[in-house]
């Protein structure tokens, strides 16, 4: 296995690049030329670290889930990104990007959001820095994620409905990109995942890499070894997975499991399992795997989890999966819901539906009794309570959900 990193043109193998209209070129070029210098600047580093510690609450714990381990007859550790301020890993990236935007002299922030988690994380850091914030969100998502819309507004952000196309995450992203085209000088676009034109996938992966950086010393404390045998993370665009894999990408003994949302079933026509259903193409400025028609029209995906409901996948993950470095696993809505209830009963933790997908993968992969497995618990489930309750009331006995046999 070759060293896995982005090359100077922004490619991971054959995936990545910057397929953008000329109108975006100066902005993206500026970012490309500056991001590494800024991130390596000691002042930046100090400010970023101090906010992660005192504001976000890092390091996030690495917790040995004993009852879960006992059930699955192995050793399962949870990386508790759900305990971060705002309830998910998303804020690691928004803290990094807002500090970068300040150094680039930008006075206006735009972002896209699907479920609203990245929108809330962006609105939060904009409030913290006193910078104007506009979040694009599909009309359909605004309706189904009302509490997060309210949170963003309370934090002082303007939530602009994306009315074009299918009115969900992909269209919110299109609208944010259009806003950036119209405001090329004063605005920074905070993308929420490891997607978009280079340098975004690499930059976001670096900001999220704090997850695996902490895992190294935390695992050493727990097990005496810095490396686990497996890392399991859910992948929509793939930012929490990129962060959890980052410092292990070149350790080929560490198995990387990428869990995608299969919706109602991989081949049901209502799915977001991009690595299975996707073909090579371009989405949001990146050459990657995406769900599209033979004519290249982008297909609207489906998952019960709004955070995994994306027709593409970050170019890093397209490369990892295509090259065999990462193993892709698909988990349906129902399997994820059951895993969410199971984790709640076994460990007293209600996971976000996205993260619940990652837990369900434990049923689908091989592992040994002595393996050390880290599951990235990317977010907390408060935002999904309504969906969980609806499922519970849908005639599935609560007891069966908590019992081992039904999962």
């Amino acid at each position: 296995m070759n060293h896995i990193a982005v090359d100077e043109r922004g490619y991971y193998g054959e995936f990545g690049g910057a397929f953008i209209p000329e109108m975006l070129y100066p902005n993206v070029e500026e970012l490309k030329n500056c991001y590494l210098d800024i991130m390596h600047d000691p002042d930046f580093e100090r400010e970023f670290r101090s906010l992660l510690k005192d504001y976000v609450g890092r390091p996030s714990p690495l917790y040995l889930a004993e009852r879960l381990s006992e059930h699955f007859k192995t050793n399962i550790y949870l990386k508790r990104e759900d305990l971060n301020h705002t309830g998910a890993h998303k804020i690691n990236n928004t803290i990094g990007q807002i500090l970068l935007a300040k150094r680039l002299g930008k006075q206006r922030i735009i972002a896209e959001t699907g479920a609203g988690q990245h929108g809330v994380a962006t609105a939060t850091v904009c409030a913290l820095m006193g910078i104007e914030c506009i979040v694009y969100m599909g009309v359909v998502d605004i309706k189904r994620q009302a509490p997060n819309v309210a949170r963003m507004k309370m934090l002082g952000a303007e939530v602009r409905p994306a009315t074009s196309g299918s009115q969900t995450l992909k269209d919110a992203t299109n609208e944010a990109i259009r806003d950036w085209i119209n405001n090329p000088e004063d605005t920074h676009y905070i993308i929420g995942s490891v997607v978009g034109p280079h340098p975004y996938p690499d930059m976001v992966a670096r900001f999220q890499s704090v997850i695996s950086e902490e895992m190294k010393w935390q695992l050493e404390e727990h097990t005496g070894k810095q490396s686990p045998d497996l890392i399991i993370a859910c992948v929509g665009g793939g930012s929490n997975a990129a962060g959890a894999y980052y410092h292990y990408l070149n350790e080929k003994n560490v198995r990387l499991i990428a869990v995608e949302a299969a919706g109602l079933g991989v081949h049901s026509g209502e799915s977001a399992a991009t690595s299975v259903l996707g073909t090579k193409g371009i989405i949001h400025g990146s050459r990657t795997l995406l769900m599209q028609t033979p004519d290249g029209q982008i297909i609207e995906p489906y998952s019960i989890s709004a955070g995994l409901d994306y027709p593409g996948i970050g170019p890093l993950h397209a490369h990892l999966i295509s090259s065999g470095r990462a193993e892709a696993v698909s988990v349906t809505d129902e399997e994820a819901l059951k895993a969410g209830f199971f984790l709640a009963k076994k460990e007293g933790i209600i996971p976000a539906l996205e993260s619940a997908h990652a837990f369900s993968a434990l049923h689908k992969i091989d592992y040994r009794r002595e393996d050390v497995i880290v599951v990235c618990l990317s977010g907390r489930g408060d935002k999904d309570l309504e969906t969980y309750i609806r499922y519970l009331e849908g005639g599935v006995p609560a007891d069966s959900l908590g019992s081992a046999e039904t999962i």
């Binding site: 000088e185 090579k280 949001h284």
Partner: protein, 272 residues
Amino acid sequence: MNRLTHLFSKKQEDLLNIYFTAGYPNLEDTGTLVLALEKAGVDLIEVGIPYSDPLADGPTIQESGQIALKNGMNLALLLKQISIVRQNTEIPLILMGYFNQVMQYGVERFVQDSVKAGVDGVILPDLPLYEYEQFYRSIFEEAGLQISFLMTPQTSPERIRKIDQLTSGFIYMVSSSAITGGKKDISEQQLAYFDRISNMQLSHPRLIGFGISNHETFATACKYANGAIIGSAFIRALAGSENIEQTCLQFVKMIKEEEQCLNFKENKSGLI
């Protein structure tokens, strides 16, 4: 000779390029629109391949694309329609689309089939200069399919030279920092940009696009470049048109002559 090259060899001023989305308003309108626009006095025509996610376009063009896709338009069908209308016209035709559509069709196959159908040039706004130069330039040049690259007010002089070098048809000058279908007036700042580019003595003709919607903006663009491109304003005129030929005629008159412009506006408002 490539029809674009031929056009530019005999006319360098006031070139009018009208854009329409293929498959809009109806699936089979492509041929009618091409012939009607030619008859109305348009110099070259840009035909948009409808796309689900047109990043550089505003709501007017995106909506027309969605309707066209619903009508069943696709690249293969469009090329067939063009090859049929090509038997009756020599007007230069340019295809505009996003690179993913071309990738899925196959770049080589796209270039060859386009030339075979009678297409003279293409505009692919999200195909980067670097990718084109490294991987695709020879395919386009061998087939004689011209390609226009975009420049904007923020494009650096070195990059403008590069664009001039790689462009093989005309340079697409984006009038301002905006998506298509934007503002109405042309500002002092834009005029300074137009002036600056005029003075660079580029080797390719320049057409100004984005925000050109009426006689006044067209005339201003023509003062500073070889002509202009109108898209969203024409799509808006097509919406609800009962007679495509009549709409094309009226629209082109409105663009070329100020009085007609007022009449057209009155007619339009009379309908509302």
